[in-house]
Amino acid sequence: MFKKEYLGRGLVTLCGIFIIALTLAISIFLLIKGTDVFRLFHHSVGEFMFSDKWAPMDVPGQGGGKIGARIYILGSLMTCGLALLIALPFSISAAIFISEISPKTGSRFLQPAIEIFVGIPSVVYGWVGLTILVPFINEKLHAPMGGYSVLAAGIVLAIMIFPTITTVSADALRAVPDSYRQAAYGLGSTRWQLIYKVSVPAAKSGILTGVILGLSRAFGETLAVAMVIGKTRVFPKGILYPTNNLTAAIAADMGNTANGGEYNAALWAMALLLLIISMACIVIIHLIARSGKNS
């Protein structure tokens, strides 16, 4: 009895604690590594966030370079924003179709199809983007730098976050109580009126959760974006121009920079920034969930 009851419980608890400890350990490690550039090399957070001058020294212990990462930060923001702009209409429409308009076809064909999307590795998205999207943008839209562009990155990211937003939104819409629908029909509303006046507003917080989950995936995505963004360290003149972002910049230089150097430290600061962004996303999701409960 003792064995049966406590062995399993102890094991589960241990695993739980381990995960919490691991998360904490990673956060603390990143916090220490990520602030090196400010503590050891005396750069200001303002320079890091708002300057475009990027020329860190790549020699251990030697400072004096420039670590303005604004282009990378803006690059991340722009590609994610564009991805959201592209993905959102499709996601919400698909979610409405699955949950309200045609639940049967939706759950039998559309939902499984969308779930397959989630399982496709990002390198595949990147590769397809590189072989189809980039040449297309180059030839049809006459992009100046061979098609590597904010647009290409935005589209690839949009395809990647589309399933996340759709599934979470569809779940939220399905969770709207049927009594709401019956009441709306009872008052004489049409199906479309029901959808945009009752169901979608009622599922608002769930949809927002999906949006933020998608956004945090987009922020963290490295490989697919790195393959199509062009990685040019400049503020793009338009969406057909290349730029760079946080994740791609880290991935490009992390292996070759000297450990303990300013360059390496600046990359860690960018990693810390990514962690902070994703944590902020999680906090926002919790806040939304809570406010949804209260209303």
Partner: protein, 299 residues
């Protein structure tokens, strides 16, 4: 309704955490095992991606001749290789640059340098462009963004598209120092590619593109061609004789004196018998470098 959404989200999060943990545990065990076995005839090396193909080929040939030995070659970049050999987590750290450039003085002093090969870096263009020769001055102006159209250097009326490597790349460092006189590349108008393979692909796809890769990437290459600098073609022969100066050493660092298997492997790789295989992969054999070439390089 939020509960359902939330629980789904958390399930996914929890699952990914567990998977990540399992992954961490497994890789942890793997590297530990290799370390312990090192004395018994196994060897691990990591670092430079430029040296990796040669190291891998040599490792395959070496283990074919010595079936009891096992050699693992990992990439990761020169910085990683140097750091790991300095930590003692690998036996050999492969690097495109001297250890002093990536480690602090004390760490670098503890490492022993073995120059195993040379790597020649060539500026490359798309074959359709038809540009075969550039002067150092033209090359410098192209890479610093002062010349932006091929017609200014005797080519067709085609926008120049710079394709470069990350600032921390060893190939980029060599090209910067020996081909364009230490000038900083115009990184605000260049596409940056993570590895030479991607760079080659980009040059293949864009007629106006120019980039630079190690000669090893031009072996059996049909669509991309190396550019002669001041009339000197980027070949191994010109590198050996000292005419073509854009090259660098590939290093294998060991912590202190190499252990038995490391020494055997490095000796094998640098032996005269193996030089032919080294050249087949597009690298320069260290034993064939002329005194003039070495002297030119130090200037």
């Amino acid at each position: 309704m939020k509960e359902r959404t939330k629980s789904k989200v958390f399930k996914v999060l929890a699952l990914s955490c567990v998977l990540a943990m399992a992954g961490a545990v497994f890789t942890g065990c793997g590297s530990q095992k290799q370390e312990n076995e090192a004395v018994k005839g196994s060897l691990t090396a990591s670092g430079s991606s430029a040296l990796q193909p040669l190291a891998q080929q040599a490792a395959d040939d070496f283990t074919a001749e010595n079936p009891d030995a096992s050699i693992t070659i990992n990439g990761g970049g020169s910085g990683t290789g140097l750091q790991q050999v300095s930590d003692g987590s690998v036996d050999i750290g492969n690097s495109d640059v001297y250890a002093e450039e990536k480690l602090d003085a004390d760490q670098a002093k503890a490492l022993k340098d073995h120059k195993v090969a040379t790597i020649t870096v060539a500026a490359v263009v798309n074959k359709d462009l038809g540009v075969k020769d550039l002067t150092t001055d033209q090359l410098t102006k192209i890479f610093t963004g002062q010349i932006t159209n091929w017609k200014d250097v005797g080519g067709p009326d085609e926008q120049i598209m710079l394709v470069t490597r990350p600032a921390s790349s060893g190939t980029r460092a060599l090209f910067k120092q020996y081909a364009i006189g230490g000038q900083e590349e115009a990184s605000n108008s260049a596409l940056e590619t993570d590895d030479s393979g991607t760079l080659m692909e980009t040059v293949k796809k864009n007629k106006g593109a120019i980039g630079y890769v190690a000669l090893s990437y031009l072996v059996n290459e049909k669509e991309v061609t190396g550019v002669a600098i001041d009339g000197v073609k980027p070949t191994l022969k010109n590198t050996y004789s000292g005419k073509y100066n854009v090259w660098g050493y590939e290093h294998m660092y060991t912590k202190g004196e190499p252990n038995k298997i490391s020494k055997a492997f490095i000796d094998y790789l640098t032996s005269d018998d193996y030089a032919q295989n080294v050249e087949k992969l597009g690298y320069g054999a260290i034993s064939k470098m002329s005194d003039k070439a070495v002297k030119n390089h130090e200037k």
